[in-house]
């Protein structure tokens, strides 16, 4: 109880005596965490965008021209039972011709009114868990082995590039996020170190009078914890406010779930606590 009261009193005394240091510490951390939050939102939003693009990925299986209708129907069931396939759609030669006409117009099809060289095909879409280059390639291998299938077409290169781009963005995001958190840790620790340096005489006196390490350190640890937590929360408050005022027509901002935000705030408060410890460590020796 004595320690708690002492900690609270000293904490507010520190903040009152050095409001500039406390404010600059809070502002710099809040801005850093805001940047981190923005990266987080950007990552979530692009992840959603990528998932939407992936969900539209289709694989087209061109069938041999001499395939009987009954064989085509059997093939429908076979394709539907393949692991990872979500939907199977049959496109007859006539439907293919109509689709082509819709795409390129009828002028280009002049001379082919009676003849239709287009083959019938099946269009596959995939379960979310199979939407990776490896997963889709495995399905491709499986369907290629079917006797009725002549050729398989899908955006193989696009998928591979998209995956690589996503991995690069993810790695960059993690490096930047790590750097931001490290900067926050060092910045906050230095601010607390400055505060302890200002109070070095008092610190030494308290030690000579018999104050324990925890008694001396607790206010600074609490300060780090409080400033870390508050600045972490401030970033999100600013972002939620901005989101309520601005809407984007092209895409929707994907904010992390509340529980993740709460965990983030707790984590940065702990970073603040650690920075408090780093700030006073030398003084304690």
């Amino acid at each position: 109880m004595r320690l708690l009261w002492h900690t609270i009193r000293e904490l507010f005394r520190n903040l009152r005596r050095h409001p500039g240091t406390a404010l600059s510490s809070f502002m710099s951390l809040a801005l850093l965490f805001l940047l981190f939050d923005l990266f987080w939102i950007a990552a979530g939003t692009s992840e959603g965008f990528y998932a939407r693009l992936l969900s539209e990925l289709e694989m087209e299986l061109f069938l041999k021209p001499d395939l009987a209708d009954s064989a085509a129907t059997t093939l429908h069931d076979t394709l539907g039972s393949i692991d990872g396939v979500r939907t199977v759609t049959f496109i007859s030669a006539e439907q293919a011709r109509e689709r082509l006409a819709d795409l390129v117009g009828t002028d280009l099809l002049y001379g082919f009114e009676s003849a239709n060289p287009l083959p019938a095909s099946y269009l596959l879409t995939f379960e979310e868990r199979s939407l990776t280059s490896g997963g889709v390639a495995a399905i491709e291998t499986e369907v290629s082995q079917l006797e009725a299938v002549e050729r398989v077409v899908y955006g193989r290169r696009w998928l591979s590039k998209a995956e690589k781009t996503r991995d690069v963005i993810l790695s960059l995001g993690m490096i930047l996020g790590g750097l931001i958190l490290l900067t926050a840790l060092i910045g906050s620790a230095n601010n607390i170190r400055l505060m302890t340096k200002v109070r070095a005489v008092g610190f030494r006196q308290m030690q000579i009078l018999g104050a324990g390490r925890l008694f001396l350190a607790a206010p600074f640890l609490m300060e780090g914890f409080l400033i870390g937590g508050l600045s972490g929360a401030a970033g999100w408050v600013a972002l939620f406010y901005a989101r309520s005022k601005v809407t984007f027509a092209q895409f929707e901002l994907v904010l992390p779930p509340s529980i993740e935000i709460a965990i983030f705030i707790a984590a940065v408060a702990i970073i603040g606590l650690v920075s408090g410890y780093l700030g006073i460590r030398k003084m304690m020796q």
């Binding site: 005596r17 005489v201 008092g202 006196q205 308290m206 000579i208 009078l209 018999g210």
Partner: protein, 221 residues
């Protein structure tokens, strides 16, 4: 009078960072209720003696015992407990600049977890005894030299610390001011507490119940 040993230095050897011998087979005992004035010129080792008593440094060999317990660098808790039983004025003892006089004086009671009411009562008694009631809310930098010293006396007495260290009580004081401080020194020496007074020059004034020693060439005489 009790013969309980409050301080005991046994065969203490201390060498400075520059390799100069400060204490050479130094021995010294102070029993409960006794006072001692230790005099010696600047650089004779008075400050080192205080540092050894507070566990701020440790001898190269030999032992330093306070209240029957040997001081060791790794025994942080023991050091903490022992420091709480020592009151100090001057030298390494300063007032905490960020605390008011009242808060400074009360520190030993806060560290000893004394309840608030008892703390307040004791504080008023001390401030009255040392004529500091008007200065209670002032910060140390606003105090005169005498007030500053008196605040240190009050802090060194508030928890009835059994041992008191007074380092250079006359330093920088004019005769009239020193006379006021000397009155408190007399009070301390007959208070039943053990008092160590360190001074560059033993004055002509004699304190009651007090031994006079001199540090010379790392030895007490």
């Amino acid at each position: 009078m009790s013969t309980q040993k409050i301080v005991e230095f046994t065969n203490v050897f201390v060498t400075s960072d520059r390799g100069e011998t400060i204490f050479h087979d130094f021995g010294f005992t102070l029993t409960a209720g006794r006072s001692v004035v230790i005099s010696g010129p600047a650089g004779s080792g008075k400050t080192t003696l205080v540092e050894l008593l507070l566990g701020l440094r440790f001898p190269d060999s030999g032992s330093v015992e306070l209240f029957g317990q040997c001081l060791w660098p790794r025994k942080r808790r023991l050091l903490k407990r022992i420091r709480r039983r020592i009151g100090g004025v001057g030298g390494v003892y300063d007032l905490v600049p960020s605390l008011t006089v009242a808060e400074n004086v009360m520190v030993p009671l806060v560290l000893a977890s004394v309840k608030k009411r008892a703390r307040s009562e004791r504080l008023v008694k001390m401030l009255t005894e040392f004529n500091l009631l008007k200065q209670a809310a002032l910060y140390p930098h606003r105090l005169t030299r005498v007030e500053y010293t008196l605040a240190q006396f009050a802090r060194a007495s508030i928890a009835d610390q059994p041992l008191m260290i007074i380092d250079e009580p006359a330093a920088g004081l004019d005769p009239a001011t020193y006379k006021r401080i000397f009155e408190y020194l007399v009070r301390m020496s007959v208070s039943g507490r053990s008092v160590i007074i360190l001074t560059s020059q033993a004055g002509s004034d004699v304190l009651p119940q007090c031994d006079y020693l001199q540090i010379k060439d790392g030895l007490l005489s």
